[in-house]
Amino acid sequence: MGYNWNWGIFLQPTATGDGTYLGWMFYGFKVTIALSLSAWFIALVLGAVVGILRTVPNKWLSGFATAYVEVFRNIPLLVQLFLWYFVMPELLPENLGNAFKQSNPIVQQFLSSMVCLALFTSARVAEQVRSGINSLPPGQKNAGLAMGFTLSQTYRYVLLPMAVRLIVPPLTSEFLNIFKNSAVCSTIGLLELAAQGRQLVDYTAQPYESFIAVTLAYLLINVVVMFGMRWVEEQVRVPGYIGGK
């Protein structure tokens, strides 16, 4: 069909003179990894808190946690991202909003993306934490309370140690999702992997090579995370429980 394949393009110096096109891709790769890992860390902490709150016998706390989950699950990720990036700085107190708007654009894009991905994912993590806790036999909680533990001690010493080990397999897919979802952040100009792919198309006029390379990079991330998590799953598997949920 008359297309000139040229895989050597990646080793050529860029039009702007800052290294090679492979260097661009590697930069995008690093941004994707840094963004996803930092957002994942926040999502785990927040998701654990919200998920626990959903199971506590207090109407206000569990109501708040339910509302939190519903809000972040029922608004598209792209809309949430634009709300964090374009709307949030306007609604902040003036000096804080101005400080944000005057900071380095890359910092603005990265922070908005990180907060957005973190909260979006935390709602999903919270659901897994809740179902993990709820999947434990009710006798566990009652036994803890009957032993004279306070509610927080029961969570700390009885429920959570089991729940944490049970929810690792379902969390694997959320962990994979956060890398995939990070591609959405290219829409606000963050130069992560997908955005670098588009830029490569514009600069090199070799669309097939560029997109195949970026797609392969995402596959690589996926495979590495899957094998890593499989190892973690084996470490934490609870004897006597069938693997998985």
Binding site: L78, L91, L176, F211, T215, Y218
Partner: protein, 226 residues
């Protein structure tokens, strides 16, 4: 603090509604094509013909490993050119809507096929055995006995996936196609009222998706007790 001014929304409602129609069109076509293609993929994956089941497994794993944004970019930037050079379509013809539908359908089919595969496997083995004992062929048994039962159990999951798909249609933003979100962004950008329009868009998505997921949950509970 920001001074809100919602006055540009009422005039923009017809334009926003046009956008919503595009969002719904993409969602519905992708759900229908996705379920049909997803069912075929699930049947291939479960079939005893090794090449078919390998193909289906590779397809599903590939599409589940790459981001939807990347799939859409493939379909907006690469596939139209490919079709132009392969079939001699007129250059620059606007294929964005059909590209979007094709991209979503092929992508979602991978997710649907996993739901459907689990649904088929949840039907007790004896059903298949009984159907064969009655003299049905494999195809008849699947079509008349297994799939109807499988689909009945799967409906809530398929609908939930449809709600996720509806949310994901906002990603056609990468092709500047004016779906509901794209329309809201354009109006906000034009009037300098991005804050109001984005909040409005978020609220609309929330109301639609929240209501729809409530209905699905209600239906799911009814199914459980039945």
């Amino acid at each position: 603090m920001h001074e809100f001014d919602w006055s540009s929304i009422p005039n923009a409602l017809p334009f926003l509604w046009d956008g919503m129609k595009i969002s719904l069109e993409i969602t519905l076509s992708a759900v229908v094509f996705g379920i049909v293609w997803g069912t075929l993929l699930a049947l291939m994956r479960l079939s005893s013909v090794t090449p078919l089941s390998w193909f289906a497994a590779a397809y599903v794993n590939l599409f589940r490993a790459i981001p939807l944004v990347m799939v859409l970019l493939w379909f907006f930037l690469i596939v139209p050119h490919l079709l132009e050079s392969l079939f001699g379509f007129p250059r620059g013809s606007d294929m964005r809507l059909s590209s979007a539908i094709a991209g979503f359908a092929l992508f979602e089919a991978a997710y649907y096929s996993e739901i459907i595969r689990a649904g088929i496997q949840s039907v007790p083995k004896g059903q298949m055995g009984a159907a064969s004992a009655l003299g049905m062929t494999y195809g008849q048994a699947m079509r008349l006995v297994v799939l109807p039962q499988a689909f009945r159990n799967m409906v809530p999951l398929l609908l939930t996936q449809g709600i996720i798909l509806f949310q994901d249609t906002s990603l056609v933003y990468v092709s500047a196609l004016a779906d509901f979100f794209g329309a809201a962004y354009k109006v906000g950008d034009r009037d300098g009222r991005l804050v109001e329009l984005l909040l409005f868009a978020g609220a609309v998505y929330f109301v639609i998706c929240f209501t729809a997921s409530r209905i699905v949950r209600h239906y799911q509970n009814k199914l459980k007790t039945a």
